[in-house]
């Protein structure tokens, strides 16, 4: 039955009640003990060979006949006024087909124009050129030779704070009376921590190829949300959505920074509209590092109060954010939810600076908040003399205190135990004994909370052809996480087919099968139930047809391993014994993600333990191991899931040790907006990583029992490393990353 139901959906902690279309698929979530043939078994990714052989076509690889190349002129100053652009000189360059400046009349509407005559950050786009070759487009950008009158700027958080340069209002959330609780606390700790600005640094930069055809706008976009991109293009250009097609076959990393259509697709579409030619706009690396987005830097103060035996009585978290996302406040959210505590307050101020505004970056805000909160909790453990994991166990929150609702599932205590067991946590103090190599060693832990329950709407279709091969279509693109592989496993499971008889297609809005943006760790818990529903619909129809063919009761039949069998074992026929009779026809089914359960919050949890070795002579910090235990409900593909954890940990480790957007205070310009100077760790920097997942599916949440995993693994890594550094050296650095000079200062 098809219904419209009202349900609460969540995206990165933003809750919304909305109507969603639901077709009841009658499925119940697989139980923990369910014997599954594909789901839960390590499976190599569907597109691995294409990716490593270069056959995969990313947006940057798209080349269309007659395609023009666009280049962007960017502001060299943090703040200024463009007083002149030599447009005629640019247009005079051979091969130049279009020049867009802030004065250009654009065919699309945007609240603040995409091109700036008063740039508010270094790297802000001033003008764009489309030309027959990229070289000509770049030459024309140089020829534009902007005259810029410099204007005053602020790029440091301290000045912005003193000048009260707020972006939006102060955000405060509280329960109880935190000041009174702090005053009454037997034990108090206060910690001030600075966290760095971090750049997403996808290997494939932001990119779009747009082709404005007479009847359709086709855009190839490196985006995490192809339907959001379609909606944005349709709205901005005032086109019916069905006349916009977005294709996103492969994405070379997004990490939150590639939302919607973005600057690139809007501009490429506009240039194509003007020139009648396909237009390719790919950010160069410098442009990507200047304007691809960032996780904003913060300065946070955390104050904790507790009883002598470590029961938290007060948590007060304050965060100053260096021009973060507009209207998005979640740095102090973990302080309000991770631990049981009656008197709690979180205050956040977003400061307006002449910097590129922050955007989504894998666990936006929450990772920053955990990085501070979990270091403060570590200090409290030291102050109370408690084992840091024991302190966390004592303060376990079994429900969402902000919403006053229970969780659909919460295996955080399991995660503490499992991480401790894997890391050899009980013996951690032996690492502090004098070491033969003269290094200082230590172990630290940190916990993680994140949403990641997903929700509707999310749709899938499944078509079984005469050859007995099922084709699944989903409304999402695979941003490198293995989403399509997981969809294949779920469909094969439900259809009782071997994996090689299921194909999965995504990355194209043309089939008009909707899927959500790959963000908020929502893809797996949103899309996989829809896939299962679509496959189940096909299975039911197949068995009904099998009943006709074999003169059997469909309810007595099951599918397994590409065969149709009767429960009594009397019948055992291949799929094709039925499907071959279809001729050119097919069995079609559709599925959707059902509503979220009323009266619950769905969250992911986890714990990571890090071991570090610190060289007291050079200040070098090496991570020697990370042990990660996460609760993400059912794991669809353990191979893909462990890769996801490893990737998150690497990015988290980089946040603790090496990655940092460095701004020259005298010019306001980032000085390391290249991959040479912006230090993404290499494989040789990668420590051994041990991954475990809680063995408990979230059967309340959805029909596959899965929660999301995109964000969770990056969240606790930096705090665990900082705490390990504290354990090793007895000191805590006031700021991350732990650069060598900073380390020597901290341990001096």
């Amino acid at each position: 039955m098809t219904r419209l139901v009202k349900t609460v959906t969540e995206m990165e902690g933003r809750f919304e009640e909305k109507w969603v279309l639901v077709e009841d698929d009658g499925l119940v979530s697989w139980e923990a003990e369910a014997a599954l043939r594909h789901v839960g078994h390590p499976t190599p990714r569907l597109t691995g060979p294409q990716r490593v052989s270069g056959a995969a076509r990313y947006t940057v690889d798209v080349a269309l006949p007659g395609m023009l190349h666009a280049a962007v002129l960017r502001s060299p100053v943090a703040h200024g006024r463009v007083t002149a652009l030599q447009v005629a000189a640019a247009e005079a360059i051979a091969g130049v087909r279009a020049v867009l400046t802030p004065a250009s009349e654009l065919g699309f509407q945007q609240r603040s124009g995409p091109l700036h005559d008063e740039p508010l950050y270094a790297g802000a786009p001033l003008a764009v050129v489309a030309a027959d070759t990229l070289a000509a487009a770049r030459e024309a950008c140089r020829a534009l030779a902007p005259s810029i009158e410099p204007l005053p700027f602020t790029v440091d958080i301290e000045t912005a704070w003193q000048e009260q340069r707020f972006d939006g209002d102060l955000h405060e959330e509280a329960r109880g009376d935190v000041e009174a609780a702090l005053a009454a606390a037997a034990v108090r700790v206060e910690l001030v921590v600075s966290t760095p600005g971090q750049l997403q640094t996808p290997i494939e930069p932001h990119a779009a190829v747009a082709w404005w055809k007479p009847d359709e706008l086709v855009c190839f976009i490196a985006t995490q949300g192809m339907f959001d991109a379609r909606a944005e293009l349709a709205k901005r250009f005032d086109l019916p959505p069905e006349r916009v097609r977005v294709i996103t076959e492969y994405v070379g990393g997004g990490f939150g920074g590639k939302q919607n259509a973005g600057f690139e697709a809007l501009i490429a579409a506009e240039l194509s509209r003007r020139t009648g030619r396909p237009v390719r706009l790919v950010l160069d690396r410098h442009g990507e590092q200047l304007d691809g987005g960032c996780r904003p830097a913060t300065r946070q103060t955390v104050r904790l109060g507790a009883t002598a035996d470590g029961m938290l009585t007060a948590i007060d978290a304050e965060a100053l954010v260096e021009f973060g996302m507009s209207g998005w406040r979640a740095v102090t959210t973990p302080a309000l939810t991770l631990y049981r505590c009656a008197d709690v307050r979180g205050i956040e101020a977003n400061l307006r600076l002449e910097l590129r505004r922050g955007n989504a970056f894998r666990a936006p805000a929450v990772m920053e908040g955990i990085t501070a909160l979990e270091q403060a909790i570590d200090e409290l453990a030291i102050e109370t003399g408690l084992d840091p994991l024991e302190l966390r166990r004592r303060n376990f929150a079994d429900r969402d205190q902000s919403a006053d609702l229970p969780y659909t599932s919460n295996s955080l205590l399991w995660c503490y135990d499992r991480a401790a067991e894997l890391a050899g946590w009980p013996d951690r103090d032996r690492w502090r004994e004098p070491q033969a190599d003269g290094l200082l060693r230590g172990m630290g832990c940190a916990a993680q909370i994140w949403w990641g329950g997903g929700g509707p709407p999310s749709h899938a279709s499944c078509r079984l052809g005469g050859d007995g091969v099922a084709q699944v279509v989903v409304g999402v693109q695979d941003i490198g996480t293995g989403t399509l592989t997981a969809a294949r496993m779920v469909a094969a499971e439900e259809l009782g087919l071997p994996l090689d008889r299921v194909t999965v297609r995504g990355g194209d809005t043309a089939p008009a099968i909707y899927g959500p943006v790959a963000g908020g760790s929502q893809t797996t818990p949103s899309v996989m139930p829809a896939v299962r529903g679509a496959a189940a619909a096909v299975r039911r129809k197949l068995l009904a047809l099998a009943g006709d063919v074999f003169e059997a009761e469909p309810d007595d039949l099951v599918v397994d391993d590409g065969r149709i069998r009767s429960r009594d074992g009397g019948l055992d026929e291949p799929y094709t014994a039925v499907t071959a009779k279809l001729g050119q026809a097919s069995i079609d089914g559709s599925g959707n993600r059902g509503p979220n359960p009323d009266g619950y919050r769905a969250n992911t949890f986890g714990c990571q333990i890090a071991r570090v070795a610190v060289d007291p002579g050079t200040g070098s910090v090496r991570v020697e191991g990370i042990w990660a235990a996460h609760d993400i409900g059912r794991v669809i593909n353990p191979l893909g899931a462990s890769s996801q954890v490893e990737g998150g940990i690497l990015q988290g480790m980089a946040y603790a040790l090496s990655e940092q957007r460095v701004i020259d205070r005298t010019t306001g310009v980032p000085v390391n907006a290249t991959m040479d100077d912006y230090k993404v760790p290499t494989m040789m920097d990668t420590p051994p990583i041990v991954v475990a997942f809680a063995p408990l599916p979230d059967t309340l949440l959805n029909t596959v029992g899965a929660k999301g995993l995109g964000e969770p693994p990056i969240i606790p890594t930096a705090a665990a490393i900082a705490n390990a550094f504290r354990h090793a050296t007895g000191r805590r650095a006031a700021a991350l990353p732990l650069t060598r000079a900073r380390v020597l200062e901290a341990i001096a």
Binding site: V282, G617, G619, S658, K679, T682, M684, T739, R740, L744
Partner: protein
């Protein structure tokens, strides 16, 4: 996504042929060997040679052998060969120390010792290594061959004694008894250019340091040859205090600049620590060789 400016290209079939091409094509021609410094510079348009003369076919320039009391290394010898050479490991383990931390296997499979020395990047490791072990290089030009010691090799940032029409053909390491050597490097991440690196070689006889060489990377406009610390050490009995004192001199005598790799004070501190450690390990290796 950067691409070099257009350039001419030819493959040399002999050293003399390469030299003749250099003479013919003039100062805008460059020798290309592994290309791992030159090509990125060309892509960034920091270098815009009009012609490249590719010497990768000159296999006669790829060797590591012992001859006439020296180890002789052909200029086209790849990093990976230096890393794996048993002959070098026996006499100058400093090479394996350095090669382990130079870039990554892809670079080490292509990059050459001659290219590294001629590039003369102050942050480059092998220039410091060759300075420490008191190497000599053979430079061949139209007028014939000459042998130049490392002390005369670096004439400025990215500038060496190799002239416009010259080819560096060989590196020579004099063999003397009682030697030990080591390389210490700190980089921001695995495979990076050094924040600072120190190479040290010592020659010990009868409990005394008879000779010593120390070279530093990345803390000056060129590779730094630490003569004042060497003078302090020569004739002394090796000791921790002595090496610490040499480290202090190293910290004083280097001239780092502040940049993304670190502030000046930190780099000086680091040079002191690394010089001390390199000397300690070099001396320990000399002692174990004596035994």
């Amino acid at each position: 996504m950067q691409t070099p400016a257009p350039f001419g290209y030819e493959r040399a079939t002999s050293v003399d042929g390469a030299i003749a091409s250099l003479q013919r094509l003039g100062p805008e021609a460059r020798i290309i060997a592994g290309g791992h410094s030159l090509l990125p510079m060309m892509k960034l348009r920091l270098a815009n040679p009009e012609h490249l003369i590719d010497i990768n076919d000159l296999v006669e320039l790829s060797y590591i052998r012992e001859q006439d009391g020296e180890i002789r290394i052909g200029a086209l010898t790849r990093h990976v060969a230096l890393l794996k050479s048993e002959l070098l490991a026996r006499h100058f383990p400093v090479f394996a120390d350095a090669e382990t931390v130079i870039a990554d296997p892809v670079v080490r499979n292509r990059g050459t010792i001659g290219g590294s020395l001629c590039q003369a990047d102050a942050a480059e490791d092998l220039s410091a290594v060759c300075t420490a072990v008191k190497a000599k290089v053979v430079i061949r030009g139209a007028a014939g061959e000459r042998v130049v010691g490392m002390e005369d090799f670096h004439v400025g940032p990215y500038q060496t004694a190799v002239g416009a029409g010259d080819v560096l053909t060989e590196v020579r390491l004099p063999l003397r008894p009682g030697s030990g050597s080591a390389h210490e490097k700190v980089e921001r991440r695995a495979g990076d250019w050094a924040i600072a690196a120190a190479s040290a070689a010592v020659w010990i006889a009868a409990g005394r340091i008879t000779d010593v060489g120390i070279g530093l990377s990345a803390v000056g406009l060129t590779t730094i040859h630490l003569t004042r610390a060497e003078d302090l050490l020569r004739g002394q009995a090796p000791s921790e205090d002595l090496f610490a004192e040499a480290g202090a001199i190293a910290a004083a005598d280097c001239s780092p600049g502040a940049d993304g790799r670190g502030p000046i004070d930190y780099k000086r501190h680091l040079v002191g620590v690394l010089t001390h450690r390199a000397l300690r390990r070099a001396a320990a290796r000399a002692a174990s060789q004596e035994a």
